[in-house]
Structure formats: structure tokens, C-alpha cells
């Protein structure tokens, strides 16, 4: 990603104290005029694929052609994913906060003329509310954003992920400075414990307790301890971690450094799957910039604490998201899981105590340290504190990434954020927790978003890949599939000859062998020749 905004890079000097960091932050802030027009172009994977670089180039050219006064020439800022992936490429014009969707290069001139010069919104590019049919000009008023509470995603879509200065202005590394100079490692652990933060990877294990166990193991065994980021987000339909790593890599890095400080680790690893090249690139840039400033590496901020990180790229093995397989892969071997007789906090990477947390979990840590565990515990519900980011996909009007406080009813997520089911179709079920989760029907829609409530209902929080399904959707077949013990070809709509028997089957796909088809016929007596999807055929039949 090119840095179009061309912010001066003040990385020449190393920061040697918290005061240096604050001075730099103030200097950077002074250099930014909050009223200067700014055009933000989303460069998340979704928008990139839909042509956001071309749109950004066209906007740049249009601004130049318009010959605007040097004082009001807007900067173009490239940011990570805004979350509203189905509407990409997304463009936000500040300071007004105008939100344009599906912006194509040919729209650039009109945006410059109408919005920048005449100060009016371009109506045809605005978001149209699927329920009321109204045009909503401002980002903050769009229901998809209005009902969110952004802690982890606070910077995403606002900062240029390849520019550390931008993150610093928005308070990046303040928590690190606070911890290094005014807190003991023990106090950091206490704050994380007090926050009630639970692992965002799915199991919901209390992070503070994990850290505490690792400290106990280190006290017993001595020697090094490792901190590891699990960025091997493999669940189909989930892209929360990718968005965080791409859009705010410094939050993950800062969280990891804080964890290392709390646990006394000097080496960390970020294991990121190979399918996320942009995330790997941005983490690499973030580390390089942090190292240059003295926020990572030897003697961080002159505090005497040293810690470094290595990014390990995955090599295309789904199983490496599992902790023991992930460690084996970092060690340079085939990532095969091992039986877990001993927990990884006692014997993990290289047989040493290791704290492995999910990307989102690490990204929560800086805010907890900065604002205190009690603040975090005040958000959400007693046993599930804070917020949760999840990807909302499937048959809903608004597809994308959202962050909501724990405890809100599932109904709100589907109706308010998701904008309901398209085409006025009745709602059927929502599938939470990816392949390990379950399908929750309409009658369970008032369930709160809570680790324990979801587990009790037979689903799970997991890496929230939720698909709200309409009645006649292909996803209704999916709902049936998930209600069984395993996925079968039978539950798959329109099985093609190359279709794998499981949706996540590794390449090359297993060809559907006759037994699969047999089981399909026996479960659903739909003719193989019918073009209707099994879900449709069945729901429309009166006998169904």
C-alpha cells in the first residue's frame, strides 16, 4: 500500500522516554489540522478487490485537475477495512463524515466538484437504508455503524496502518508508556484479571487466569517464556482478525509488548496465515517502524525492558490454528496437533511456558491497561465483559464486520446492524461460532451475546462467523447440516461433481463419491436433476 498522504516520517530519532513519546505525539498532532478536508479511501481486502486503489488514484487526479487552493487541498488517506465490505470501495469525506459507497474511478470528478467545491453530498453514492429507503449521508448515522461500540476497531478506518505517526496521534503506545513507567508487571496482570477479558478465539478462557498460570509455571521452572499471537484465523466466514491485523497492526503489537512486559517475555511470535498477505505486510511495516522509534527491540523507550517479535507466515494448513500445531509449525516442523496432557502455559513453544492469545484478545490489552480493568469490566455483562468483533455474513442486508458490547440480544445484531433479511423474507436462523458452533432459530433470537448463554444454547461464540439465513436460502440447508454431528454432502445445496464433502476440505477436493450421493438421496428425496436448491424445494413443499 502506498502512503499517499505523505506524512513526514519523523523516525530519524529513537525515543528514550515516555516524555519523548509524548513530545512526538504532540508534534504530530500539531501538524494535523482537524478541519482540513480529508478523503479516506478504504483499502481493506474487500475494497482492494473492488478497485479502491483505482478510485484513490482517480480522486487524486481529480483534485489536482480541479486546481484547488493549496490551503484546502484535501489529503487522501488510505486506511484499513471499514467493515462494510459488501459496499466497497468505501470513501469517507472528512471533516463532514460523508459516507460514499461503491465509489468507482469515474465518480471521482463529481465527488471533488460537488462535495469539496460546492460542499454538498453526492446523493447517488450515499447509503440507502434498506428499511426506510432514505439516503443517509453521514457515516455515524448509518445503522450499521450507529449501533456499534468500537474498542478494538476504534482506529480501523481512521488511521493509515502503514504510518505509525497516525496511530501515535490517536493514542497508540500510550498504554505501553504507562505500563513501563508507572506500573509493575504484576499490576498489568492484575488489570487484565480485573477486566474479565476472555479469549476471543472462541473458548472464552479468562486471559488473566492464563497469564497467571504462565507466571506460576515460570516461577516453578525458571527460564524463558514466550508470547504468541494466533493470527491463523481459519474458520470459514470469519475475517475479524484479518481486519484488525490489516487495519490496526500497532494495536496487536502494543498488546503483545504489554503482555511480554507483564510476563517477563523477551521474544514473541505472530503466526499469521499465508492467505493474509496484506496483514503480514502491515505487521511487518508496523514492527519496522516501532523498532526504529524504540518501541520494540532493545531497551524499549529507555525503560530497560527488551522484547522482539518475529512474524511467522503460515503455509496453508488449516490445522495450524490449533495451539500445539501452531507451536510445532513455528518450530519449523509439520504442524500436526499433539495430545494436550500438559497445557501450553506450562509447556508450549520449545517446551517452554507460552501464552498464546488470539489477535482480538491482544488488541484489547492496550485499552485495558490504559483505561483500567474496571472500565473494561463495566462494558458488557458480568461474565462476558467488553465488546466482541464479528463478521456478519450471509442473508442479511449489511454484510461486514461489526463490534458490539457483549450481552446485546442477537436480534439487535441481525435486525439493527445487519439490517434484517433482504427482500422481506422471513428470518430462519443464525449460525454462530463457525463450523464448531450451531444454528440458532428465531425463537432463540432474544439470547444475549454472551459466552455462556451461547454455549448453553448449544452454539458458541468462537470466531464469530455468523450467517443469518433467510427462509429460502441456501443457508437453510446449511442450518440442517449443522444440526447433525458432521457435515455431509447430503446437506449441501446442488452438489457438484467437484464439490468436497466438507466445506473446508483441503485441496485437492475429494470428489463426491457414490456413498455421499446415496446419503443425500436418502435424506432428501429431491430429484438430482432438479435445478432448485434442496433448501428451497423443501421449504416450499407443504409436507416440509
Amino acid at each position: 500500500m502506498s502512503n499517499i498522504s505523505a506524512v513526514p516520517q519523523p523516525w530519524a530519532e529513537r525515543l528514550n522516554s515516555a516524555a519523548d513519546l509524548e513530545a512526538l505525539r504532540q508534534r504530530l498532532e500539531a501538524g494535523q489540522d482537524p478541519n482540513r478536508p480529508e478523503i479516506i479511501v478504504c483499502h481493506g481486502t474487500g475494497c482492494l478487490a473492488n478497485g479502491s486503489p483505482q478510485a484513490a488514484e482517480a480522486l487524486k487526479k481529480a483534485i489536482k485537475d480541479a486546481g484547488l487552493d493549496a490551503k484546502v487541498v484535501p489529503g487522501i488517506k488510505i486506511t484499513g477495512c471499514h467493515g462494510f465490505c459488501s459496499r466497497g470501495p468505501l470513501v469517507v469525506v472528512r471533516p463532514q463524515g460523508l459516507f460514499y459507497q461503491r465509489v468507482q474511478p469515474e465518480d471521482a470528478q463529481e465527488i471533488v466538484q460537488t462535495t469539496l467545491i460546492e460542499g454538498k453530498p453526492v446523493d447517488r453514492l450515499l447509503y440507502v437504508d434498506p428499511v426506510s429507503g432514505e439516503h443517509i449521508p453521514h457515516e455515524k448515522d448509518i445503522p450499521f455503524y450507529k449501533h456499534q461500540e468500537r474498542i478494538v476497531l476504534r482506529n480501523i478506518g481512521k488511521v493509515d496502518p502503514t504510518d505509525l505517526g497516525d496511530t501515535l496521534v490517536r493514542g497508540g503506545y500510550q498504554a505501553l508508556a504507562k505500563a513501563l513507567f508507572s506500573m509493575t508487571p504484576e499490576e498489568v496482570v492484575q488489570q487484565v484479571e480485573a477486566s474479565g477479558l476472555r479469549g476471543r478465539g472462541g473458548a472464552g478462557f479468562p486471559t488473566g487466569r492464563k497469564w497467571r498460570s504462565a507466571l506460576a509455571a515460570v516461577a516453578k521452572k525458571g527460564g524463558p517464556v514466550y508470547v504468541v499471537v494466533n493470527g491463523d484465523e481459519g474458520d470459514p466466514g470469519a475475517f475479524m482478525d484479518r481486519t484488525i491485523m490489516e487495519g490496526d497492526p500497532h494495536a496487536v503489537l502494543e498488546g503483545l509488548i504489554l503482555g511480554a512486559y507483564a510476563l517477563g517475555a523477551h521474544q514473541g511470535y505472530m503466526y499469521v496465515r499465508a492467505e493474509y498477505p496484506v496483514a503480514i505486510k502491515h505487521l511487518g511495516i508496523a514492527m519496522e517502524q516501532a523498532r526504529a522509534l524504540g518501541l520494540l527491540g532493545e531497551n524499549i523507550l529507555g525503560s530497560g525492558f527488551s522484547f522482539d517479535v518475529q512474524v511467522n507466515r503460515g503455509a496453508g494448513a488449516f490445522v495450524c490454528g490449533e495451539s500445539t500445531a501452531l507451536f510445532t509449525s513455528i518450530e519449523g516442523r509439520a504442524g500436526e496437533p499433539k495430545p494436550k496432557y500438559v497445557r501450553s502455559v506450562e509447556e508450549g513453544l520449545w517446551g517452554r511456558p507460552t501464552v498464546l492469545n488470539n489477535v482480538e484478545t491482544w488488541a484489547n490489552v492496550p485499552q485495558i491497561v490504559e483505561k483500567g480493568g474496571a472500565w473494561f469490566a463495566g462494558i458488557g455483562v458480568p461474565h462476558s465483559t467488553g465488546t466482541k468483533v464479528f463478521s456478519l455474513v450471509g442473508k442479511v442486508n449489511n454484510v461486514g464486520l461489526v463490534e458490539v458490547p457483549m450481552g446485546i440480544p442477537l436480534q439487535d445484531i441481525v435486525e439493527k446492524l445487519g439490517g434484517g433479511v433482504p427482500g422481506g423474507q422471513p428470518f430462519k436462523a443464525v449460525q454462530t461460532g463457525g463450523p464448531s458452533g450451531g444454528c440458532l432459530p428465531e425463537r432463540l433470537l432474544d439470547l444475549p451475546l454472551d459466552f455462556d448463554a451461547l454455549t448453553e444454547a448449544g452454539s458458541m461464540m468462537a470466531a464469530w462467523a455468523s450467517a443469518a439465513c433467510a427462509r429460502c436460502s441456501t443457508a437453510s440447508a446449511r442450518a440442517r447440516a449443522a444440526s447433525r454431528t458432521s457435515w455431509t454432502c447430503a446437506a449441501w445445496p446442488r452438489p457438484s461433481r467437484t464439490a468436497p464433502c466438507a466445506p473446508w476440505a483441503a485441496a485437492p477436493p475429494t470428489r463426491c463419491s457414490p456413498p455421499c450421493n446415496t446419503s443425500r438421496t436418502s435424506t432428501w428425496p429431491t430429484s438430482r436433476t432438479t435445478s432448485a436448491r434442496p433448501g428451497c424445494a423443501r421449504t416450499s413443499s407443504p409436507t416440509a
Binding site: 478487490a49 492467505e275 503460515g314 496453508g316 455474513v393 450471509g394 454484510v399 466445506p503
Partner: protein, 154 residues
């Protein structure tokens, strides 16, 4: 193809000679040459001190590595749940028909390789394909024609 002997040594020198850099080395070699040759595998083993059998196990375990030369253009079709539901298997069929090779295969002229991958986490773009590292959103059979033609001409 790049002159293998020169670049290979450069790649090997990028990392310390420790077993934990085996995957890094194989990834860089795969990226540079589109496959890991027996010669390269042996050099990596000599450098890292990993037995050849173990390096072979790693190279065959991970999907990213290929021991056979890959085509100039790599086409990866996502078969994650969302893409699957939106017709990715049909895209694979179409590509198989057009290229004459199945997933994991490479055309005889070494122009194209076809692969299927696990969920790319770009579900809003389903069905999605990655062609030479560029994401192609909402691919249809119709778009394939143009895409393949552009690639062949490039």
C-alpha cells in the same frame, strides 16, 4: 525462469542456519521459483541441519509448497463456506474444463496452475479467486473467459 543457482544461495543466506527457519526458507524458495526442487530442498537441509526426510515431510504437509513446477499464473479458488454456497465449485469445474487440469494441476505449457484454498476471509466478495495474488471478487463463468485471456496475453 530465473537463474536458479544464483538466487537460491541468496535466499539461503537470508536466514540463520537453524531448524526453525526451515519453513521460512521453503516459503521464499516457493515464492521465487514457484516450486521447491530436490536440489533446493537438499541445500536447505544442509543449511538448517534438518534431515531430508523431515524437510520432505514439511514440504508435503503444507499446502503452500509444491515439489513440482507450478505454472506462471497461479489461480486459487476459495472453497470456504460462503464461496461454496455462491458457486465456487462450479468455477472450479469451469476452470478444469478450460485448462484441462484439476485442482493441484498445472497446464503442460506451464502457463496456469489451478488450486483450491480454504476460506480467504473475504466472504463479502464470494465467490472469490486469487489470481497471482490479486483478489478477484464475485467471479462468474463469464468473467473467467476474459480473465484467462488477459492472463494468457500478458
Amino acid at each position: 525462469m530465473k537463474p536458479a543457482s544464483i538466487d537460491l544461495d541468496d535466499i539461503i543466506e537470508r536466514y540463520p542456519g537453524q531448524p526453525d527457519y526451515l519453513i521460512f526458507l521453503l516459503q521464499d524458495i516457493q515464492a521465487a521459483f514457484n516450486f521447491v526442487s530436490p536440489e533446493a530442498l537438499q541445500l536447505v537441509c544442509d543449511h538448517t541441519g534438518v534431515p531430508l526426510s523431515q524437510a520432505y515431510a514439511v514440504a508435503t504437509f503444507y499446502q503452500s509448497f509444491s515439489l513440482e513446477p507450478k505454472g506462471e499464473h497461479e489461480i486459487k479458488v476459495c472453497l470456504g463456506t460462503a464461496c461454496h454456497l455462491k458457486g465456487a465449485p462450479r468455477l472450479v469445474e469451469e476452470l478444469e474444463r478450460r485448462l484441462g487440469v484439476g485442482p493441484g494441476g498445472t497446464t503442460d505449457d506451464l502457463q496456469f496452475s489451478l488450486d483450491t484454498v480454504n476460506c480467504l476471509g473475504a466472504c463479502a466478495l464470494a465467490p472469490v479467486m486469487v489470481v497471482d495474488e490479486a483478489y478477484k471478487p464475485s467471479v462468474t463463468a463469464k468473467k473467467l473467459d476474459k480473465m484467462l485471456k488477459n492472463l494468457a496475453d500478458a
